[in-house]
């Protein structure tokens, strides 16, 4: 069932897992998942928090592969979320909620002043849940996805919270970036803008994965009753919508002068690209045309970004096309 070459390639990442695993153990040994001692300097306390959350995000990002569950459990992370970047740089104190606070009381007042890094953490947490839900092998267990009490709906509502916490109604991402993250000379301060763009990218990725036609099909195979057509149609619509939004986000960011350097963007773009590739053959010609263009944009992105890795990027896009073309069941009807 697996392509053996891909399996083997995954084995070549063994050293990476060892290092990340060791880092996690060091962090646990230092109890970075708990609030730091109050007698430490404010900047040092916050550095410890941010180091922990960085490792948490890393742990979630590398766990998108099969058979790689994340190490940190959300329940164990009692340290407060990262504070605002400005306050961090100025070494000023700030009381932030914990991840559990956000889950228990999503509508409490503190939740509306989250820093973009905190939003990245939130989306990484949801990514862990989405991946575990979508990729789980074996027959479907638990409540049906269209049951409002189900895990599926729980994850969907976490994603909706993101829309409340972040500034979702932005007419133009590029304008927003220029207004908020530009330096005096007009260039973009990447370390300020990064979490803003990344949190939104993760949001769209989560939506794509949760409503992905392949992954849903995989889950549904074992369900005996007829899948409601409405559910399927809405899921496909959402998947496509967020794949388009992801493309648009990165395009707008680029227009504003922001370059998406984080490697993980390649995964996001490829996921969105696969969705566009599927919709290239849609019955609606406008949809098909738009999807073909967005698929090409995804490939172009992979060739251009991440910057400084040109021939790897070219390899990636070649591999992407080769692999997709070799999948015989790609054109099976899922609509």
């Amino acid at each position: 069932m697996y392509d053996c070459a891909n399996n083997y390639k995954a084995g070549a990442m063994q050293p990476a897992w060892v290092k990340i695993g060791l880092s996690v153990r060091f962090a646990q040994g230092l109890r970075l998942n708990q609030e730091p001692a109050e007698n430490l300097k404010i900047s040092e306390q916050e550095t410890r928090r941010r180091t922990f959350w960085s490792l948490y995000v890393l742990d979630r990002l590398v766990s998108v592969g099969p058979n790689r569950p994340p190490v940190f459990l959300d329940d164990d992370c009692t340290v407060h979320l990262p504070c605002h970047e400005n306050l961090f740089q100025s070494e000023l104190p700030c009381e932030m909620p914990t991840l559990q606070n956000l889950k228990d009381r999503p509508d409490s007042a503190d939740c509306y002043t989250l820093d973009n890094f905190a939003l990245v953490v939130l989306m990484a947490s949801v990514l862990g849940s989405s991946i575990r839900y979508c990729m789980r092998q074996g027959p479907h267990t638990g409540l049906l996805p269209w049951d409002f009490r189900s895990r599926f709906c729980e994850i969907t509502s976490s994603l909706l919270h993101f829309e409340s916490y972040s500034i979702s109604a932005i007419p133009s991402v590029s304008e927003f970036i220029r207004q908020n993250f530009a330096k005096q000379d007009g260039s973009i301060n990447h370390s300020f803008a990064a979490h803003f763009v990344f949190s939104r990218a993760l949001y769209h990725l989560n939506q794509c994965l949760l409503h992905h036609p392949f992954l849903l099909h995989q889950r549904f195979r074992s369900i005996k009753i007829t899948i409601p057509l409405t559910f399927v149609q809405e899921a496909l619509q959402r998947c496509r919508k967020h794949a388009c939004e992801l493309n648009k986000l990165l395009q707008d960011a680029r227009e504003a002068g922001y370059l998406a350097r984080t490697s993980f963007y390649a995964y996001c773009v490829l996921t969105a690209g696969v969705v566009h590739y599927l919709f290239k053959h849609d019955a609606d010609r406008n949809v098909a045309k738009e999807s073909a263009a967005l698929w090409q944009m995804a490939l172009d992105f992979l060739e251009q970004e991440p910057v400084r890795w040109p021939h790897y990027a070219r390899m990636v896009s070649q591999v992407a096309v080769k692999e997709l073309n070799s999948c015989k069941s790609l054109h099976c009807s899922f609509t």
Binding site: K9, M13, V18, V64, L259, R261, Q304, V319, S326, S329
Partner: protein, 276 residues
Amino acid sequence: MTEANDNRELKRARQACLNCRRKKARCSGEKPVCATCAKLKQQCAWDDSEEETRITAFSQENAKLSNNHLAARLAILESKFSLIHGNTFNDFLGLVPGQSQRAQGRLTRETQWESPSDITSQSFVDAGNGLEVEVTNLSDTFSTLPSKTIIQALIDAYFQYSHNQPYCYFHESTFRQKLDAGDIPEFLMFSILATAVRWSDHDFFLHRHADAIQSYANIAWKQIIAKYLSSQQTLDISMVQATAMLGVIEFTGLYPLNLCTIALTTTKLVLCSQHG
């Protein structure tokens, strides 16, 4: 089947399907149906036992190493192993490292990218608690910290291109103060340099980014392991930061392909499970 054959334009599989084997024809190797069988509309079947034997042998070798309870040795060996097979994958796709890229209206300058030099020999000496790794053919240029000017430039590059994208390990002004005071542990220095080298246009790294990254990362890793395995373990946050950075380098720095391979593996997994 030699490596040279993989450079040819026509695709050639590592293992032929049963039909092509019977006819002694060239098999392109696509699964589940190869191009030849697809054309002739015949059932394409594969013998998986060969691949499994190869993979079992590989994992048996791994088990032997880990039984020595030398996790560090395993990691170093596998770094070497993955490096060699990284090059093989390049060859398989027929791409020559360092090909010129399209000139575009990009906002940053590009550097010619190249693969790491072949590692011809590394000797391992078990020295009691620690591990000594002698790197015999990577030049001495990257076996020590570079000059202060270069370090400064790399730190600037780190804060511009890596910091917060998306990982945040440092409070910038505090870090720079510590740097000036010489309070940054060497393994952390090397980890940061290894992360930042890819953004550097400095002549010092010209055409040798991959060598520098690999060398700095190896030195940092060796120091961390030695410190961790020494009798006076003093766990410090810098060890968390450094190890995480090295993990990221390994995962995406030399092999950004990995993430996309995961994405594609997942896609194929789902598609093939539908199919078969």
